[in-house]
Symmetry: C2
Subunit: 442 residues, 2 copies
Amino acid sequence: MQELKKWLVEKNQERLYEFLVRYQPYDIAQMLLKLGEYEQADLIGSLSDELAAEILEYVDPDVQYHILDHVSKGKTALILNEMSSDKVVDLLIAIHPHQAQTLLKFLPEEHRKKIEALMRYPEKTAGSLATVDYIAVRNNWTVEHTLQHIRKVGQDAEMVYYIYVLDSSGILVGIVSLKDTILATENTCIEVIMKKDMITVPAQMDQQEVANQLSNYDLMALPVVTEEQRMIGIITVDDLIDVIHEEATEDIQKLGGSEPLNEPYFEASLWSIFKKRLPWLLILFIAEAYTGTVLKHFEDTLEAVVSLAFFVPLLVGTGGNTGTQVVATIIRAVGVGEVKFRNLFRVIKREATVGVCLGLVMGIAGLIRASILGVGFEVAQVVAITMLFIVIWSSIVASALPLIIRKLRLDPAVVSGPFITTFVDGTGLVIYFMVAKTILNL
Amino acid sequence: MQELKKWLVEKNQERLYEFLVRYQPYDIAQMLLKLGEYEQADLIGSLSDELAAEILEYVDPDVQYHILDHVSKGKTALILNEMSSDKVVDLLIAIHPHQAQTLLKFLPEEHRKKIEALMRYPEKTAGSLATVDYIAVRNNWTVEHTLQHIRKVGQDAEMVYYIYVLDSSGILVGIVSLKDTILATENTCIEVIMKKDMITVPAQMDQQEVANQLSNYDLMALPVVTEEQRMIGIITVDDLIDVIHEEATEDIQKLGGSEPLNEPYFEASLWSIFKKRLPWLLILFIAEAYTGTVLKHFEDTLEAVVSLAFFVPLLVGTGGNTGTQVVATIIRAVGVGEVKFRNLFRVIKREATVGVCLGLVMGIAGLIRASILGVGFEVAQVVAITMLFIVIWSSIVASALPLIIRKLRLDPAVVSGPFITTFVDGTGLVIYFMVAKTILNL
């Protein structure tokens, strides 16, 4: 780092290159982030357009904009032209529309039109992830012609390993891998070696679905097409890996009962963390508040047998724990597409069965615990029976809710651990006091 | 499916091929899983070795073994030879060592030695994920020679898009992409276009770390090397996508307070789900049980002011919810490498600050709720102050524990939502009654 700063300050291009050549673009991007804002612009400004573009692709859109805003206009135009189109789209969407218009003016007419077309797709859809920097050939070309074409345009393409075969109206008719192209003889026609049965994704498809397709079929890129199979662009595996990470992070944060942060932990401001957590805490508070109503309703029972109060946290706690275990399993199974709404009854049956077994064991544990506390056999019995019921009830609720919520087109992950815990707290108390009233004849 | 079964029963090879050619190997694998066991062996037995191997790579090792056990020995040998070496290793590790020995005998001497070498690496390390089906060339070869070599051996390679340059003793000295090879002139020496600064991973590296490397550097494969940079094999992006999925699933299931299932939801037996959940439920039960002790200890306070009991679930519930939010955020940040132990105090400071803000809001909410229930201003005050303390306390515990547990080389995800909830239940009650005793002068 010190070395890098030194060559920057001294404007010693030669030593700067010697230093940077030892690192990967990703590593240079990490160093870039640690520089001051003028140093950042100096560094990017002094690199080749290609390397500058590659490094910028590793940093967030707001940093990209900040740097481009500080280098010369000519340089900005050259760098934007080198960046892959999906990354340019990300940048333009993230910044102010006015700023985006300014940047768009730097692009040549044809490129600008493509970018503007991609910008129309809503966030998190296949269209918004697509890049137009792919290699397209015609079905009547020979292998030799194709290889010549790749040599000509390959340097700018994001992915040269799949070659997309289009007809005269831009309809995707086949895909051939560079591997098969190399393995074929030079005068073979592309039509002969291309695959006609291909996996394509519509532009509207949700990004998680796209990621599932790619990982199921073990592909390195997926073509995005319109309804008429017209080629829009491709999504490459590295962008989908980011999607997979992002979706898992969201699921985990939602499971924790909070709006997802959508940014790296240390980049999120305390205010934004506060804003994402508070609404859910308040909603859960209101839901939890009726436990007070329930307890007040059974005040007489509680006054008659104060020892019943000792087991309130243990019973609702175990119910909440069971529910959290179930909901985590189901949300992940839904997330990776293993479980769907049509499996609802199968899932409930499985979870209820496991719930009965767990409930029996936990009921015995409850009996033992109550006996140790010396509250008398009758109260111990109440605890044991309530434990059984609460565990079963919690298993059923936690298995059904994520699927029902999903069917209602809400995100299943809003059914979080805290949500289930809260729900079971109130309903569990009702179960507890009803069992108590019955057994203790109150 | 009906059509597939028909051609299988009629042993109509021609129609069977016509049918299958319309599908991707992954789709055929899905159909295969729905067939009876003899039909499965019939199908695999009647396909080309290459297609059979490709389809089998999409199913679990136990299914693979089951099918291979039912086809002829000659066919088994041919299919095993076509399968990529990392998949053969997975198969051999999953089955009984005795069965593995039998299968190994089907492989030619040289191939067997490579497989046996890969089998020595512990599960979930880079070595265990590596495949030896990569393309290796020497540094003094020309581009033309390299392309000829790829044409000869490329069909069997899992990944032809990176070419690994080894010296005479098997040390990795450079990597050249197929793209750069194609773009170069035929008589260029590989040494000139190869990259010498490359990302390699040691065989012992944890698979999650490997996945992070790959996604950081946007690569499609990573070379696995020994300490002396001797080439062991490569890990391809599709295998690492599986790792990323697997690790996220594990984190989510652990966050839910359960041992991870390590298999798709519907494939996990009810017994195995029961076994993975029960130990944690019991551990949490024991931890939760001391809430009874706490409550019993404060029995006099509780009898004096029964209304204090109304707020027990609300207070500990809100504390648990806050803790779960924090722990989910931290576990994910640790999982993707954003937060490390050295950030401990920074994390605690951030979370405590957010905790104070959330605690103030929730304290006011508590005051309002208690007033509505009509328990008197003094008890309402106790509820509000306790709420503030519990939210702060819970934030600190949930931010510190995952990092400390990780430092102690335990998996941070054992600090689950239920764990934090349970911990806060007991300690929160102590806070509650101490505040109550102070304010109510009991």
